[in-house]
Amino acid sequence: MAGIPAAQAVEGLRALSRQMREDVFTIAYRAKSGHLGSAFSVIDLLVCLYFHHLRLKPEKPDDPDRDRFILSKGHGCSALYAVLAERGFFPKDDLATCTKDGNRFPGHPSSTLTPGVEASTGSLGHGLGVGVGMALAAKLDERPSRTVVMVSDGECDEGSTWEAMLAASHWKLGGLTCIIDYNKIQSFGRVSEIMELEPFADKWRAFGWHVQEIDGHDHEQILASLAATSLAGSRPHAIIAHTVKGKGVSFMEDAVGWHYWTPQEEHYKQAMAELRSC
């Protein structure tokens, strides 16, 4: 799949995002897990990636020509799990096991446990370097495979992220895309207060990347920016996705606490009501 889909298809992706938000909230509610705000800010991006952009075959997960996706901000993995299930990497019912000991869905993704997870992440500052290696292998092998890495804004405090940025442009990895989930809230406060990233786009450009800035919840903008990464060229692509932490549920939106809090019954009821009415 490539290019911009018809309006009807975009509406389908929007509907899927709504459904994914319900699924993710349900996972978090059942598992009593946190990081819900971080998962909600990337759902629209993940839906566009897995249901339009990435060339993947769940029935042939080891295809060497497949596209690779790494969720470097591994703490948002409940969103990835919901999307992978919906895409057919494993039965959706499996997600219900996340409350039980011995399940395959840890709080940070593991490629040895969960089908469809390309790389294990959880500690920030790892995914982009691994993605650089994957994109480099594809380039050396002259394979059509593209690599997409999603990092958080807080993750851009890590020096290793900048090491990888430097290497990706030096090695001319036009097949690599980094999506930055720029929800402006990191672990313990606002990015602008903890460790300012601005002028953020200028920094990526200065490192030699092709940079796009989009509304990370606008499906049309997401799809257009992903389509632009398919253009031939040697510069790696950065998509700075302006997002809202906890997007889609009023009490979670732009709230630092929903990096940590686990939803209670009243939260669950209210969230479901809001998501089903929109």
Partner: protein
């Protein structure tokens, strides 16, 4: 060892296009031939070891077998979590190659010394820890690394180490090599101390003490069977390593003795838990650490004088 390593790897890589060599901007006068011969299998990743290890993992996840090279502290401590999460967690065929084991970079100062690397590398799940004792063990281990599928740490000396084995080896990872046989004690040596162990055995023989010598080129997985046999055959085990006394070969042997319930005396010869007090050559620093042939012989004699 360093020269043997790169020559061996080059010969293998010419036949096996999956092999890649990544360096953290080191290898002047060492890697030029590899770079010029196999440019597509060579990459200078710059002075950025964390990224280099991540890139190695990404390459390995795409089918490559990757060797990652730098001076020990930079390719182990600096990027430890990247080795843990990116390489070991994924159980990938990535070999971390550290040059400068022990006090090899003596004059360079403590930032360049490697005395805690085996301890930390040994603690990582899936990681094999390999410390060749001479160029022939280095050559054989590089072949063995390519033939297995998981993470390895290859700890090299620097350059100019003598050849101690008589002929090229075919060794097995995790299987010690008996180099001398004796009934009074067993010297178990790894890496840069193997040469010393042989000298110690010679000197002890002059005093009619017959020592076995085991080259424990693999610290993990440790050859527990060889330790068990040595404990049964001789009343004293002496471990020799150019590494901190915490967490290296001596610790591994002590753990094996404890876990196996083996009652045998164990003399642990290693560097003290500390940074070098003064600057100096490798020989000077070894002497400061008590890792010379006379000082180890003296300790052995003292232990032997005390009844078990």
């Amino acid at each position: 060892m360093r020269t043997t390593f790169v020559k061996t790897l080059l010969a293998i890589a010419k036949r096996d296009p999956r092999i890649m060599l990544l360096t953290g901007d080191l290898g002047f006068t060492v890697f030029e031939e590899f770079r010029d011969t196999l440019g597509r299998q060579y990459l200078n990743a710059g002075v950025a070891e964390q990224n280099m290890v991540g890139v190695a993992a990404g390459l390995a996840l795409s089918g490559r077998r990757v060797f990652v090279y730098s001076i020990v502290p930079f390719v182990t401590f600096r990027c430890f979590e990247h080795i843990r999460n990116d390489v070991c967690y994924h159980n990938l065929p990535v070999c971390i190659v550290g040059v400068g084991g022990g006090y090899s970079y003596g004059h360079m100062g403590s930032t360049h010394h490697a005395l805690e690397d085996i301890a930390v590398m040994r603690s990582l799940p899936n990681m094999k820890v390999l410390c060749p004792g001479d160029p022939l063990e280095t050559e054989a281990l590089v072949h063995a690394i390519v033939e297995q599928d998981g993470p390895c740490y290859l700890r090299l000396g620097k350059a100019g180490e003598p050849t101690l084995h008589m002929e090229p080896l075919s060794l097995t990872i995790g299987r010690a090599i008996e180099m001398r046989s004796g009934q009074d004690l067993t010297l178990i040596a790894s890496g840069t101390m193997l040469e010393r162990a042989l000298e110690i055995a010679d000197r002890l023989q002059g005093g009619f003490v017959r020592a076995s010598v085991l080259s424990m080129h693999t610290v993990k997985p440790l050859d527990v069977e060889a330790v068990r046999k040595a404990a049964a055959a001789t009343p004293l085990l002496v471990t020799l390593e150019e590494h901190s006394r915490i967490g290296g070969l001596g610790s591994a042997v002590a753990e094996a003795l404890s876990l196996e319930g083996l009652a045998v005396r164990h003399l642990l010869c290693a560097a003290p838990d500390g940074f070098a007090t003064y600057a100096g050559s490798q020989e000077y620093l070894r002497a400061c650490a008590g890792l010379t042939v006379p000082s180890i012989c003296k300790r052995i004699e003292e232990v032997c004088r005390v009844p078990a």
